[in-house]
Amino acid sequence: MSTTLQISATSTPRLPRHVKFRFDETRDAWVILGPERVVFPDDIAVEILKRCDGEANVETIAVDLAQGFEVTVETVREDVLEFLRDMAEKGFIEG
């Protein structure tokens, strides 16, 4: 159950059991739900979170996103790592 803050390119991030990430029809927006918390992620965050299935590692996620957005893997990798470390510290991601 512990949250791993050490997220690296080989980590396989996933959402903990107590965190829900789903599309809310009423608000027409993606939403992250945790204990006493509701977060509306931006479009980039949504694309990253959709790929956090506990199987894909950070490198795979970065490569996938770089192709979709036509930017370099290096740029995306750093952004993804920064985002996931921040999410892990908030308890929304496990590594």
Binding site: M1, L5, R17, G34, P35, V38
Partner: protein, 372 residues
Amino acid sequence: MTELGPPLSLLAEVSHRCPLRCGYCSNTLALDPASAELDTANWCRVLEEAAALGVLQVHFSGGEPTVRPDLEKLVACASAAGLYTNLITAGVLLDRTRIQALRDAGLDHFQLSIQDSSAASADKFAGFAGHAKKLEVARWVGELELALTINAVVHRGNLPNLESIIELAVELGAQRLEVAHVQYYGWARLNVAALLPTAEQLDQATATVEAARERLRGKLRIDYVIPDFHAQYPKACMDGWGRRFLGVTPTGKVLPCQAAETIPDLSFDNVREHSLEEIWYRSPAFQRFRGTDWMPEPCRSCDRREIDWGGCRCQALAFTGDAAATDPVCEKSPLHHLVTKATEEANRSTEAEYTYRSWDYRDGGAPTGFGS
């Protein structure tokens, strides 16, 4: 004014029954009897209506929600409707099998209350010998891999043990700890002289929490709810009346805040007669203090009017006798001296009486407020 959107969270007070008798219980003084509680079908309908309205999270609370044998069904209804489900419980009525059943019904999160760090003291504040059982419950919750928050309501009596309360939360395997200062409505208002911390205690508690947050980073998250008595400005109570939150009482009344029933001239629509959507968007009780149009001066022209939304209506009522007054905690309130006086009196009191929550209190009548 910001346009009104759907609510984010719903507090489902499924029963007022509870084996504990905490003298700071947030329930109303006139408790609802079991015979008047909403049945399973009505609760499920309310939960489905809530999800359709845009509610994202439901908190099952009470009283003690596990007194309801149909709680698993209610959790399953909420979960099927897509709601994030949180159980707020004293834990003392649970066994491992039932916790597993609740988890299997779709429970997302488990919030367990403790009254202090040692059994002797915790059982005294609760008026019930339940502390030892709570420790067992926390262990089962961990074994079943449910996320655990420990909730500790703090006050003058247990604040000296705050360090060991935090240690206990770590030992129990909680990922999150809520250190919540008593909010002085309902039962807590009766016991304010016994419960209100001194300004020094409050500063010490804040320092303890901040140090623990740093020490336990990545291990335990600590949410800290402070009382606003000693503050310059009031809290944005409920994040604004009728903006984010609705509560449903055991008998089906829909409230804009948990303590709203203390306001005498408001009447609350019931889910037995109206849909949740009608109540949220159109009921007089939700409209009464919504937005900024209702505000008196100095709120109306204040640049903080959409930051603290005029503070807390129940607190305004308790101190001034008028729920529509500026929250007197605010230093701009013409009645701010009432708060200063009350805190000074509490700071002076030493041997104050502690009244336990009970079912027959209504016969004694509600107090008129401790500021006057």
